[in-house]
């Protein structure tokens, strides 16, 4: 058990260091950091001064260690394009992305599990078949087209919901939230649907497949033989055993959530991290790019770790095997 946890932590650390190295190499070798920070008319002396200040005259390994130390403190230098600290930019845009991602995950999980259970129980029903067909089409559709389609229907034609931005936000300390105002909530609807759609189809198909498996297993047959009502078997016996793989896969899907968040934020001009990153790529704003990369890797590693641990907690067999 302990060895299992330690190994997961160690693997995560290795991934983080490799990614940090890539980020550092990008920062150091893509373009000239000095030329990007001082203006055209800076003198040689100014340049040398800045080189010394930034530690760029140090040997490469020392520079990398300093980069790591700064990264741990959350410092990634100054954005070439906006002239502000990258850490401030990220802190400013983090709430928008977190609210979008969490809400879409909640939406996808609730609806996905519900539809998956339904499709498994009424396997031959017309509705269930229709839902499965729809999910197949949904998987083949690019995210940005789903977003555009929703905008066209609900913002352009029906004029029910706004098509871009976060609406009015309320500041709680440094955190800004769109959950407390009407326009903020309205603005969330379409992006959440867009981002949640892919996860929804995935979770739904997974729950259905697992549920069908469990419903065929021996303990369900015994439960039926004992005369337990079908409803109770479906929800207490079957669904509970379905959730173990679903939690794992849902956690591992985080990578695609990050990717789809980049696209979703661009479609809806959502002021989040993904849009910040796309802008940085367009203008080769390397400090923002490398900071985003390290940030995403960090989130991946933490989520993978948590998923591993949840798996151990949910599945008693793993606990015994690790001992």
């Amino acid at each position: 058990m302990l060895a299992y946890v330690l190994r997961s932590v160690l693997q995560g650390a290795v991934v983080l260091i490799v990614v940090a190295f890539i980020a550092f190499a990008m920062f150091r070798f893509v373009g000239d950091p000095i030329a990007n920070m001082v203006g055209q008319e800076a003198s040689m002396a100014d340049r040398e001064e800045l080189t010394r200040q930034l530690g760029l005259d140090q040997p490469f390994p020392v520079q990398f260690l300093e980069f790591l130390a700064a990264a741990v403190r959350g410092e990634f230098g100054i954005s070439y394009r906006q002239g502000r600290p990258v850490s401030a930019l990220i802190a400013e845009r983090l709430p928008a992305t977190v609210e979008l991602a969490v809400l879409s995950a909640v939406f996808a999980t609730c609806v996905g599990v519900g539809l998956g259970v339904y499709a498994a129980i009424r396997r031959r029903g017309l509705m269930a078949q229709a839902v499965m067909m729809l999910s197949l089409v949904g998987v083949s559709l690019p995210t940005f087209l789903i977003g555009i389609g929703l905008i066209y229907v609900f913002a352009v034609e029906l004029r029910w919901l706004p098509s871009f931005g976060r609406g009015d936000t309320v500041a709680i300390g440094w955190w800004t939230t769109g959950l407390l105002t009407k326009s903020g909530l309205q603005s969330l609807v379409l992006p959440v649907l867009t981002l949640g759609f892919f996860q929804l189809t995935l979770i739904m198909r997974l729950v259905r497949a697992e549920m069908l498996d469990v419903l065929r297993s021996d303990f369900v047959r015994f439960a039926r033989a004992r005369g337990i009502p079908e409803r109770v078997i479906e929800f207490r016996h079957a669904l509970r055993n379905t959730m173990i793989p679903v939690v794992t896969i849902a956690g591992l899907q985080l990578g695609s959530v990050v990717a789809f968040a980049i696209v979703t934020e661009t479609v809806f001009q959502w002021p989040g991290l993904g849009a910040l990153f796309v802008n940085a790529v367009q203008f080769a704003d390397v400090p923002v790019m490398s900071a985003y990369l390290v940030f995403v890797a960090f989130v991946f590693v933490v989520v993978n770790l948590v998923t591993d641990l949840v798996y151990v907690v949910l599945d008693p067999r793993l606990r015994a095997a690790g001992r």
Binding site: V15, V18, V19, M26, V30, G31, V137, S140, L141, P142, T143, F144, L145, I148, I151, Y152, V156, S163, G255, S256, V258, A259, I262, V263, T266, F277, V278, A280, V281, Q282, F283, A284, V286, M289, L293, V296, A297, F300, N304
Partner: protein, 321 residues
């Protein structure tokens, strides 16, 4: 069968050797192909789109990127309706510059398919070479390659492609960027998809390595490179084709997504994604057709290739399911 068993002078003759084509026609794969409506329909659709895109310069009513052929007063024509000023009819309508959308989609599909095919070939070559090396050589080399593949696979392809693109923007001077974009896109999408090939090929190569024919090839003194490419490689191609087909759809969608995000093909040389990005701006003013035709072309193309890939996977390699 029944005929050749019949006694008589006819059965004494050596039956004529059947041509390669006839034998291929009767092969398992093609038999199943002929009997699967989904595979037939998706192949026809995909082929029609590919041929139309390749022949775009001859098929398209106009060259949409030659300003001399555009007439501003044709702008904003609705599909299938005569233009209010010029009276001309455009099947799929026109954009604000009077550009025929049918021609734009044909030329755009050409760019999308070019990037898709080229990046699939690129990632296939890289992935197969690395996977074959890892599976055949083993040891430290294998551990290193597979670790890199693991890390690469845990990051979404679009993120990797965006990073490659951003690095390119930082290195290349703006003046050269426009011409180089096509190659950078191919590179970026190719580099973000090689790991899957490497994994599959490595697994298959490890199985093949332990077979007798490989030992035999080694015993007669062939160099490892020859054994790898001439003997092991032909036996790992099945799964590679399946991955390549499915990846073609993914690569086309990835290219469209990048172009849609504004980090792909420039408006002077648009792909389907760029056309969708442009069309989105006119959605709010009600000119839906500027968006609709490239979007539909992308969906149909991706869906057809996806279905074909699914079918190919079922036939060639059920384990990949």
């Amino acid at each position: 069968m029944a005929e050749s068993l019949q006694p008589g002078p006819a059965s004494l003759k050596v039956p004529p050797t059947r041509g390669r084509l006839a034998r291929a026609w009767d092969s398992d794969v093609l038999w199943r192909f002929r009997h699967s409506p989904a595979a037939l329909v998706s192949t026809v659709v995909a082929l029609v789109i590919v041929v139309a895109a390749v022949l775009a310069p001859w098929l398209a009513p106009q060259n949409p990127f030659d300003p001399a052929q555009l007439d501003l007063s044709d702008g904003f024509s609705r599909p299938m309706e005569a233009n209010e000023i010029t009276g001309r009819v455009f099947v799929l309508g026109t954009d604000p510059q009077g550009r025929d959308m049918l021609s734009a989609v044909l030329y755009g599909g050409r760019v999308s398919l070019l990037v898709g095919f080229a990046s699939v070939v690129f990632s296939m070559v890289v992935g197969v070479a690395l996977g074959l090396t890892a599976g055949y050589v083993g040891g430290r080399t294998e551990a290193l390659i597979m670790r890199i593949a693991d890390i690469q696979l845990s990051f979404p392809a679009i993120l990797v492609a965006l990073l490659v693109f951003g690095i390119f923007r930082g290195i290349v001077s703006p003046a050269q960027q426009e011409q180089a974009t096509l190659f950078v896109l191919i590179l970026a999408i190719g580099l973000s998809n090689w790991a899957q090939y490497a994994r599959t090929v490595r697994a298959t190569a490890m199985v093949e390595k332990s077979k007798v024919y490989v030992d035999a090839a080694r015993l007669i003194g062939l160099r490892p490179l020859v054994v790898m490419t001439k003997h092991v490689l032909p036996n790992v191609t099945g799964p590679v084709f399946v991955i390549a087909t499915i990846n073609l759809a993914l690569a086309i969608i990835e290219e469209a997504t990048l172009s849609f995000l504004g980090v792909g093909m420039p408006p002077t040389q648009p792909s389907l994604g760029t056309l969708i990005r442009i069309g989105q701006q006119f959605l709010f003013s009600g000119e839906w057709w500027i968006l609709l035709s490239p979007a539909l072309a992308l969906i149909v193309l991706a869906l057809a290739i996806n279905l074909l890939g699914d079918w190919l996977r079922d036939v060639l390699d059920p384990r990949l399911r």
